[in-house]
Symmetry: C2
Subunit: 147 residues, 2 copies
């Protein structure tokens, strides 16, 4: 299955999720790990779409999600910075998911400079992520994002 850029943008406007997790992690200098990820979840019967996305971008992994669902997920910072983010800069999202993307990009850019390794940077990332979550809750779109 070959995909076109605009199909990917439309599908991401519907099903994509720019998510930033912040988890306790005793081995990290600030005691927390910041985990940005781009995720697309589908029922396992549509796994071929996830594999086509992986092939198109040349990064990420296709794996099981909860229940009958699978996901394609990109977590490596280099791949997010060098592949996923430039794609959505060239091909603009049309829904408010674009706001999530812009917040996500801010976090990834900060992390590339080690911003998450300072107390001030981590606090700033928390504020950005809080804004993303509020938008999800308000728009009732939590469902497509990991917790």
């Amino acid at each position: 299955m070959d995909l076109e850029a605009q199909w990917i943008v439309g599908f991401t406007d519907g099903e994509g999720c720019f998510h930033v997790g912040i988890a306790r992690h005793s081995e990290m200098s600030m005691g927390y790990q910041v985990l940005p990820e781009f995720v697309v979840v589908q029922h396992k019967r549509d796994a071929k779409v996830l594999h086509a996305l992986k092939k198109y971008f040349g990064c990420g992994v296709v794996r099981s999600d909860r229940g009958d669902r699978m996901c394609w997920r990109v977590r490596k910072l280099d791949h997010l910075s060098g592949i996923v983010i430039p794609f959505f800069e060239r091909h603009e999202l049309k829904t408010l998911k674009r706001q999530d993307f812009l917040a996500f990009r801010r976090v990834v850019r900060m992390m590339a400079k080690g911003g998450h390794l300072t107390a001030e940077g981590l606090a700033q990332i928390r504020r950005i992520v809080e804004g993303m979550n509020q938008r999800h809750v308000r728009s009732g779109k939590v469902k497509s994002c990991p917790p």
Copy 2:
């Protein structure tokens, strides 16, 4: 906002719903009304996307859905037959939603020939719709479709 065909296909693969309602209606010859509709639901903050879809296809209505949601909905048989169905014939859906589309097309084609006005035709439509619903339940995608 201008849309490209492939964006619409991708967005429909994510958020679109080909739905056929069958409702009691005392004034219909068979006692039932068959209501095929193509629907895209979004949070009201993304209403501009729904208006862009309406503009692109030149048919349907944008109206309130449940709660904070709005939808773009095409119900007129002529518009489904002459605009929506040919679009998705030219631009193939990539997920299993294509199966719903093909079942939906069968129903609309039958209705164009008055097939829903005979007991046999109505029974056949019921079987087609049952297959669509089963697929939704199995894939956990009920959420995007009206009840």
